[in-house]
């Protein structure tokens, strides 16, 4: 009844180990039920013994207590067996996990191997060589293109470089302490004066 849906096409995902685990667990369930029964009985007998003592039937009470003692021992044994079974189940479950881990590692290893196959040393050498060739080629092209600049262009480039370097070298002259000289002086050094002005604005800010 339980397997109505299984077997129709898709295969069962229950392994042989699962069945073994189930069997162990069923055994454990039975022991647990047995334990429950014993506990109930113990409780009942304790009550009965007390009743007998009250009635003055000491002999029978003693007998009953002996029986109870025996049952308590049984209960202990049952407990140990339950824990044995449970440990076994846990061991089995862990072993299953270990198998899975190993499988995973194997798959990873195979995959790594395949990828290494694709990456043969010769192939790497060839590719690196080709890359080197390409770099060389690029260098050649660069050189050829660099040679294309005319003499005039080169001069213009140099001039620009000069201008930039000079710009950076400009230093602010000392702020004059004496009163400003006459106008002609101003015409002569108009550029530095402007720079000075800008510098002052900057300072003011």
């Amino acid at each position: 009844m339980g397997n109505v849906f299984v077997g129709k096409g898709r295969p069962s995902r229950v392994t042989e180990q699962d069945r073994v685990i189930l069997q162990l667990k069923q055994q454990r369930d039975k022991l647990k039920q047995y334990k429950r029964k014993l506990t109930v009985q113990l409780e009942k007998e304790r009550f009965l013994a007390r009743q007998l003592l009250k009635d003055g039937k000491k002999e029978r009470a003693l007998l009953l207590l002996k029986k109870k003692r025996y049952q308590a021992q049984l209960l202990d044994k049952t407990e140990t067996q339950i824990s044995n079974l449970e440990r076994m189940v846990q061991d089995l479950e862990f072993a299953q996990i270990e198998v899975k881990v190993l499988e995973g590692l194997k798959v990873g290893n195979d995959c790594l191997k395949k990828m290494h196959e694709a990456l043969s040393i010769e192939e790497v050498e060839r590719i690196m060589e080709e890359t080197q060739d390409a770099i060389e080629y690029q260098k050649q092209v660069d050189e050829m293109l660099a040679g294309c600049l005319s003499q005039e262009d080169e001069e213009a480039v140099l001039a620009e470089l000069e201008a930039i370097t000079q710009d950076e070298d400009v230093q602010l002259p000392e702020v004059p302490t004496e009163p400003l000289p006459a106008v002609p002086e101003l015409e002569h050094g108009s550029k530095p004066a402007k720079v000075k002005q800008e510098g002052m604005i900057l300072l003011a800010e």
Binding site: G2, F5, V6, V14, D18, R19
Partner: protein
């Protein structure tokens, strides 16, 4: 927590099937909801028609009224039409009352399983319904046939697989 009876429960005509079709429809609806909420309250899963007549559900001692077996059959048949009940035998003497659908039970069980990281583990049915670990869960004490239905519902979703063995059944969750 005591069960809260609907007002109809103390209304004597409620215990006699009404001839008027419209009234009867309303009456049956009230009975259906009464049965479902009572069974939910008492956590009843299987009900014996003859026995249940004596239960407070159909027998109001205070007003000295009880529903006849025939009327109970009618109510149960109505529940069956609504999908809340299934007959467990041909004579319609025992019924499975599903105040929670198997799919819903399955969902609850699966939630518990995944919350506790026990997917991919094997369980016995006893363990699920009577185990120490499920004591605080709603499905603790669920009757086996109901439990099985819930697990089968999970099985159709591919979340579980019921395992049948010589002495009892088990289940593996995925």
């Amino acid at each position: 927590m005591s069960f809260e009876w609907p007002w109809q429960y103390n209304f004597p005509p409620f215990f006699t099937l009404q001839p008027n079709a419209e009234t009867r429809q309303k009456q049956l609806a009230a009975w259906c909801s009464l049965v479902l909420s009572y069974c939910r309250h008492r956590k009843l899963y299987t009900v014996d028609v003859l026995e249940v007549q004596e239960s407070p559900m159909f027998n109001n001692k205070k007003i000295e009224r009880k529903l006849s077996v025939e009327a109970i059959q009618v109510v149960f048949e109505e529940l069956r039409k609504k999908g809340n009940l299934e007959w467990m035998d041909k004579n319609k003497a025992r019924s499975l009352i599903m105040w929670r659908r198997p799919e819903e039970w399955g969902k609850l069980i699966y939630q518990w399983v995944s919350k506790n990281g026990m997917v991919n583990s094997v369980f016995t049915l006893y363990e699920l319904s009577n185990g120490d670990d499920t004591e605080t869960e709603e499905f603790h004490g669920l009757e086996e046939c109901m439990l099985l239905r819930a697990l089968q519902a999970l099985q159709t979703e591919g979340k579980a697989e019921v395992i049948t063995m010589d002495d009892g059944k088990g289940v593996k969750f995925f």
